[in-house]
Amino acid sequence: MKRHDIYTLPILIWLSLFFTIPLSITVIMSFMSSTPYGGVTLPFTVGNYVEIMKGRILAILWRTIRISALSTLITLGLSLPVSFFMATSKWKNLLLMATIIPFWTNFIIRIFAWIFLLGNNGMLNNILIQLGIVKNPITFLYNSWAVVVVIVYTYLPYMILPIYSAMEKFDFSMIDAAMDLGATKIRAIFKVMFPSIKGGITAGILFVFIPALGSYAIPELVGGRDSVMLGNLIAWEITTARNWPYATALSNILFVSTALALFLYLKIQGSDGK
C-alpha cells in the first residue's frame, strides 16, 4: 500500500463489501440447497442448475433474449436518425433537454403512462367504446409486443444520449469533404461518420440491451402469460417461493448470459473495426 491509496481505500472497501462479496455469495448460494423454512443448507450441489435446465427456463431465457434484442434494434433504428437530426440542428440544446426530461421522469410512471393509454380501462379503449367502434375493450397490453413497445419507450433516451454525444463531437464538414470527393451523401455518412460514432452506438446498445435482459417491472405490469421474462422468474422465486438457491442459480444464468452477450458483442465489434 502506498500513502496516496488513502483516496481509493473507501471505495475499495465499500465496493468489496457491497458488490464483490454479494456477487460471490450469490454464486456460492446457487450451489446449496434450500430448507423448508426458507433457509439454505450444505452440501454443495449442482442440483439447482440441473433442475432449471429440465424446466421451461430455456424457453424463457430464449424469449428474454429475443425481446431484449428486438427492443434494442428498434431503439437503435429510431435513435440513429433522431441523434443525427439533433446533432445537426440549430436547436440542439433544446432537443437535448427534450430527451433528458423523460429520462429523468420516474421509471414506473413511464410504464404507468402506457397502462393508462392502452390498458383495458385505458384512454384509447374508452374513446373507441364511446365512438361505438367496439363494444368491449380490446386487450392491447399483456403480450410480448406491449413489453417491447414499453421497453423501447423507457430506454430510448439511453440510446439517443450516447449516440448524440458521439455525433456532436463529429466534424460534419468531413461529410462534405467526402461528398466533394465523389461519395453519395448516404455513402459519405456511412463511411465517414460511422467509424467515429461507433463508440456511442456500442454504449447505447449496451445501455439498452443489458437492462432489458434484466427486465422485471415492465413484463410484470404490461406483459402477459406469453411474455414472462427471466426477471419475473427470479423475482417470483425470491418473493413468493423464497427459494434462495434456486433464485441465485437463475440470477447466475442471467449473469452468464449478459457476460456472454457482452463478450460476443465486443468481439464482433472489435473484429469489424480492423
Binding site: H4, Y7, W104, I108, I109, A113, N121, N126, G231, I238
Partner: protein
C-alpha cells in the same frame, strides 16, 4: 422522424398530465376539469407521502455518501496511480454493465446471509453502491482537463496535501461533483428494481408504492402524482443544465 419520436416520448406523459385534471373516477373518460385528485394526493394519501419521505431520506444520504467516496476515488485514480487499480476498475465498471436485478438479488443475499434486517438502511447501502460508479466516472470526466502540474504547482507554492485538495482540487472539480450528486440523487429517487429486493416492511419508497398502486388498476391520484413528478423532472433538467455535459461525459 424526430418529431414522431418526440411525440412518442411525450404523448403518453402528456395524457397522464391532462387527465390528472379530469373529474371522472374511471380516469380515462373526460368529464370536466377538477383539482380533486390533487386534494386527494396531498391530503388523504399518507402512504404516498410516507414513500416520498423514505425516498427523499435515502436519496439525500446515499448521494451524499456516494459523492464523497466517489470523488475521493476519482482524485486518487486520476492523480495517484492507486494500488489494486484493476480490482478497483472492475468494481467501478462491473456494476454499470450487469443488469440491476442481479445487483438487487446479490445485495439481498448478502443481507439475508449476514442476517441484516431489511430497512431504509439496507436501501441506503444499495443505492450508495450503484451510485458510486456513476460518481467516479462523472468526476473523472471533469478531472481529465487537469494534469498533475496543477497539484505540483500548489505544493510548490506551499500547500500541504490537505490544502491542495481543499483549495485547488475540490473547487476545480466542483461542476463534476455537483453533476454527480444530481445524478446519484435522481438515480436513487428513480430506482425501482434494486429497491424492490432490498426493501423491508415499513421501508417502502415512492416507486415501490406507485408500483403496488398501479398493479391494482388505474387511479387518478397516480395521474396527479405523475404530473408532479414530471414537473420535478423538468425542474431538475433546467437546474442541471449547466452540469449536463459532465453527466453525459461520464455516461458516454
Amino acid at each position: 422522424m424526430t418529431v414522431i419520436v418526440l411525440i412518442f416520448l411525450y404523448a403518453p406523459i402528456m395524457f397522464l398530465v391532462i387527465f390528472s385534471f379530469n373529474s371522472s373516477v374511471t380516469g380515462a373518460n373526460w368529464m370536466g376539469f377538477t383539482l380533486k385528485w390533487y386534494g386527494e394526493l396531498f391530503l388523504r394519501s399518507p402512504d404516498i407521502w410516507e414513500g416520498f419521505k423514505n425516498s427523499l431520506i435515502v436519496a439525500v444520504f446515499s448521494s451524499l455518501t456516494a459523492t464523497f467516496i466517489g470523488t475521493m476515488a476519482a482524485i486518487g485514480i486520476h492523480w495517484y496511480k492507486p494500488s489494486f487499480r484493476r480490482y478497483i476498475n472492475f468494481n467501478i465498471y462491473a456494476p454499470l454493465i450487469i443488469p440491476d436485478i442481479l445487483m438487487g438479488v446479490s445485495m439481498l443475499m448478502l443481507f439475508v446471509s449476514m442476517r441484516i434486517r431489511l430497512s431504509l438502511f439496507t436501501i441506503y447501502l444499495a443505492h450508495t453502491t450503484f451510485s458510486l460508479s456513476y460518481v467516479v466516472l462523472v468526476v473523472l470526466a471533469r478531472l481529465e482537463n487537469f494534469d498533475s502540474s496543477l497539484l505540483e504547482a500548489a505544493m510548490d507554492l506551499g500547500a500541504s496535501e490537505f490544502q491542495t485538495v481543499r483549495r485547488v482540487i475540490i473547487p476545480m472539480a466542483l461542476p463534476g461533483i455537483i453533476a454527480s450528486f444530481l445524478l446519484s440523487f435522481t438515480l436513487s429517487i428513480d430506482d425501482f428494481i434494486i429497491t424492490f429486493f432490498v426493501a423491508g416492511p415499513g421501508s417502502t419508497t415512492l416507486p415501490l408504492r406507485i408500483f403496488s398502486m398501479i398493479r391494482f388498476g388505474l387511479s387518478p391520484v397516480v395521474n396527479a402524482l405523475s404530473t408532479i413528478l414530471v414537473g420535478g423532472a423538468i425542474l431538475l433538467t433546467l437546474l442541471g443544465r449547466k452540469f449536463l455535459k459532465y453527466i453525459l461525459a461520464g455516461e458516454g
